[in-house]
Amino acid sequence: MTFYAWMLALHLLAAFSIAAALTLYSVMVVVGRRTDSPEQRQLLFRLAPIGTPLIGVGSVLALILGVILAIDSNRFEIWDGWVIAAIVLWALFAAVGARTGKYYDAVQKLAEEGGEGAQQEAAARLRASTGALLHLGTLLVFVLILLDMIFKPGA
């Protein structure tokens, strides 16, 4: 296998790592809206640590390996429109994803506090549309990146 082929394989694995984390978070968002006891919420949040390294390492590797691929390729250039679009979308993905993470981190803290008021607030925030919409936004940007990577508009 060539250097380019290795970089492409690892770039793809990084993208799958992000997709796996987003799927896990989607399950947590959907199930979280239906939880009705503090125990259920605490149990659900035990899944979160699986997603953190998958999305963190996956996102950084996907960007770095993508840039390496664009530089190494004799077919594409880093200033091609679809490559620039991917980098811009990646930045947007990171921004919306970070905002979503912050929202659910706060909910997790409340769920782990244990007081009656904190539990009610955690349940209300899990059912509120804010978190779900933020997560949906993150998913949407990821799908746009995927479409851009596969269709390579302008290439």
Binding site: M1, T2, Y4, A5, W6, L8, A9, L10, H11, L12, L13, A15, F16, A19, A20, A21, L22, T23, L24, S26, V27, V31, E39, Q40, L43, R46, L47, I50, L54, S73, R75, F76, L146, L147, I150, F151, K152, A155
Partner: protein, 155 residues
């Protein structure tokens, strides 16, 4: 083959997108199912083990079907139908073997999980749900190799 993949005609893109999107849903479903099953391995209530089995049904199975339909579509679009088996590249063979063998393993995991969820209502089924989790974890390893092969296209 790497060159062929990176400069493929745009008429193949939709089939490839369906294939990749299905594979990502499949991998995400497997990671969530294995993660929930392993984290809830020792839980007496078994909530996460049930979530593990339900995730296999709700995400991994549809993901596998979409991935497999996309694979056949892309295979036909790329003209591999007209190439004798002996001349087909190794990565294509890896993809076919792991997708189909993985499908059988997934089916076994779904059956074990389904019976496990049913028995869990009367307090049993923990062993079956754990077996389903182990199979999901095995499938993750299989599909990581597949993603590497699809990206790097070794021959």
């Amino acid at each position: 083959m790497t060159v062929l993949a990176t400069v493929r005609p745009h008429s193949w893109d939709l089939a490839v997108f369906v294939h990749v999107a299905g594979a990502m849903i499949l991998m995400g479903g497997l990671v969530t199912a294995a993660g929930a099953g392993l984290i809830g391995w020792r839980d007496t209530a078994g909530g996460l083990r049930r979530l593990s089995a339900l995730t296999l049904f709700a995400l991994a199975l549809p993901g596998w079907i979409i991935m497999r339909v996309g694979a056949e579509w892309a295979y036909s679009k790329e003209g591999w139908d007209d190439v004798p088996d002996k001349l087909q590249p190794t990565w294509l063979g890896i993809g076919y073997i792991t997708a189909d063998a993985g499908g059988i393993i997934l089916l076994v995991a779904l059956i074990l999980g389904g019976i496990g969820v049913r028995r869990a209502r009367s307090g049993g089924g923990a062993g079956l749900l754990k077996a389903s989790t182990v199979l999901a974890a095995v499938l993750i390893a299989v599909y990581v190799v597949t993603v590497w092969a699809m990206g790097g296209k070794p021959n």
